[in-house]
């Protein structure tokens, strides 16, 4: 994997996403129009107020949902409502299969592709070791903590050797200390694989610490109101939080997000009041 910052891994051009009307509800214009270029090998985070369309953006960029207007591309090829090989997605919710052991969870995608058993074992062993799950290979997800289950999901993605990794608030359900440690692990994974990473998060410090660039989204319909370049070195880790420049970036992000968050809260309050009136 090259670290060429000029090459584009994925791109959105004039993308909007409108959810159609449901019984008693008007259509929801969730996203866009927006443009985005993810450079090959970069770590890009998206922050924005609650309900601004961050997860919708991930769905469109992964091929899980088609855009209403505009086009989405992965490595120059248009996405058409399927997730192509080379894209891995980690969700906020626990997506481990509870009926499979850790090993079988991680091997799931490789076996589906018909990979030879020896190669499956080699790759799965590597991913399980990398994520610190070696001692739990034969355990079931119910026997693991929330953070470990999320690591199983990351290992299941990692083992497929994706060139673009999309993470939808993967540490949202974890406590602060675990989040910091998982952030370090994510940086290690990013450096070792050379993959392009896009992280959706509502935690400004997390986005600041992990990212090369941070896209700041407006309240719904979400568009990018700014993209902040952090300028951190590639070998950064959570000790960066003590750096004075770290505080400056966080302040800049919050100054942009504060008014958008208040606008989003106003939208949600208005919608709830309208629903209650009905």
């Amino acid at each position: 994997m090259t670290d060429d910052k000029t090459a584009v891994a994925a791109e959105l051009v004039g993308v909007t996403r409108v959810y159609p009307a449901r019984a008693g509800h008007a259509p929801v214009h969730a996203l866009g129009p927006l443009d985005l270029k993810l450079h090959r090998g970069e770590f890009f985070s998206v922050v924005g107020p609650s309900g601004c369309g961050k997860s919708t953006l991930l769905d469109v960029l992964s091929g899980l949902a088609p855009p209403t207007e505009g086009k989405a591309f992965f490595e120059g090829r248009p996405l058409n409502d399927t997730v192509p090989d080379g894209i891995g997605v980690v969700f906020q919710e626990d997506a481990s299969f509870p009926w499979l052991t850790v090993f079988d969870n991680v091997a799931f995608g490789l076996r589906r592709k018909g990979m030879e058993a020896g190669e499956v074992r080699r790759r799965v062993d590597y991913a399980i070791n990398f994520m610190g799950l070696k001692a739990f290979a034969t355990a079931y997800p119910a026997q693991l903590s929330g953070g470990m289950r999320q690591r199983v999901c990351i290992a299941r993605t990692l083992v497929m050797e994706p060139r673009l990794i999309l993470l939808d608030e993967p540490f949202g359900a974890l406590d602060q200390q675990t989040r910091l440690l998982m952030g370090d692990e994510l940086l290690r994974l990013w450096r070792e694989t050379g993959a392009t990473v896009m992280l959706i998060t509502h935690a400004l410090d997390e986005a600041n610490l992990l990212s090369d660039r941070i896209g700041v989204m407006s309240a719904r319909p979400g568009i990018f109101i700014d993209v902040v370049e952090t300028g951190w070195s590639r070998d950064r880790d959570s000790t960066l939080a003590a750096d004075a420049r770290f505080g400056l970036v966080s302040n800049r992000l919050w100054s942009m997000l504060r008014s958008e968050s208040m606008r989003a809260m106003g939208q949600q309050t208005g919608e709830r009041a309208a629903e209650a009136a009905e």
Binding site: S62, L64, T82, V83, D85, I87, G88, V89, F91, E93, D94, A95, F97, P98, W99, F108, G109, R112, Y140, P141, A142
Partner: protein
């Protein structure tokens, strides 16, 4: 042994012991009910004589066919209904009211249609069991977490792969509950049908003993049926508990 098991065991011992005592002391006359020990002796006597072998073959054969039809048919119908929201909206209220229908009342009609023998019994038992399986299948498929289906899409699974590799395993605990109910209802259907109008089967043997005031044999056969259903259900419950322990309550 956990406290629940201890309490359950004590309750059973209390009831069986109390009944034994009441029957042996004559507080309950043997024309009403016989002692549990006599019921066990009756089962051993009846089974070892071999006189019930033909009846058992008919009953268990009919139950096996009816339960298989109810479980497989209920699963397929449940899956089809799940995949069609319009059909679901139309059928849901009917499913809810289904068990208010006195199915056994249709047995004479089924005899007219299918003739004497195992046919109408199997139809009656299948009718009783199939809806429990449909409801369990719908419940199971409804509760498959959306994130697992999204994961299936990320891995590029085809619809059939998604069904067999994700939906079915995720819904298995609910499906097992359906299997338990479908089996019990099928058993009830066969034995009740045989009891009402049949010339063979364990249900018929119970009815024959009942008509001839043969309490000794009748209670033995009733205990035999209860014991059989308890063993089957306990086996399924054991699998179910092992699965829940392994998977957690997600």
């Amino acid at each position: 042994m956990n406290p629940a098991t201890v309490i359950r065991t004590l309750v059973i011992i209390g009831i069986v012991g109390g009944l034994e005592l009441a029957c042996r002391t004559g507080a309950l006359p043997h024309t009403v009910i016989i002692a549990p020990s006599a019921m066990v002796a009756s089962i051993i006597e009846t089974l070892s004589s071999g006189e019930l072998n033909g009846d058992m073959r008919q009953t268990f054969g009919a139950v096996a066919v009816a339960a298989t039809l109810a479980i497989c048919g209920g699963f397929v119908l449940g899956f089809l209904i799940h995949m069609s929201p319009r059909l679901r909206r139309a059928i849901d209220p009917l499913l809810g009211a289904y068990y208010a229908i006195p199915h056994v009342a249709f047995y004479p009609v089924l005899i007219v249609i299918f003739g004497l023998g195992a046919g109408p019994l199997i139809v009656l038992a299948t009718m009783l069991g199939i809806v429990a399986m449909i409801i369990a299948t719908l419940g199971g498929l409804d509760r498959v977490p959306r994130v697992l289906l999204r994961t299936a899409k990320v891995h590029g699974l085809s619809p059939s792969q998604e069904l067999f590799l994700v939906r079915l395993p995720a819904a298995t605990p609910h499906l097992l509950s359906g299997v338990k109910l479908a089996f019990s209802y099928s058993f009830i259907g066969v034995v009740a049908g045989e009891f009402i109008l049949s010339t063979a089967g364990v249900g018929h043997a119970i009815a024959f003993s009942y008509d001839n005031f043969d309490n000794y044999r009748m209670y033995g056969l009733i205990l035999f049926i209860i014991g059989f259903v308890v063993v089957v259900n306990t086996t399924i419950l054991f699998w179910e508990r092992r699965m829940v322990a392994r998977r957690g309550t997600r």
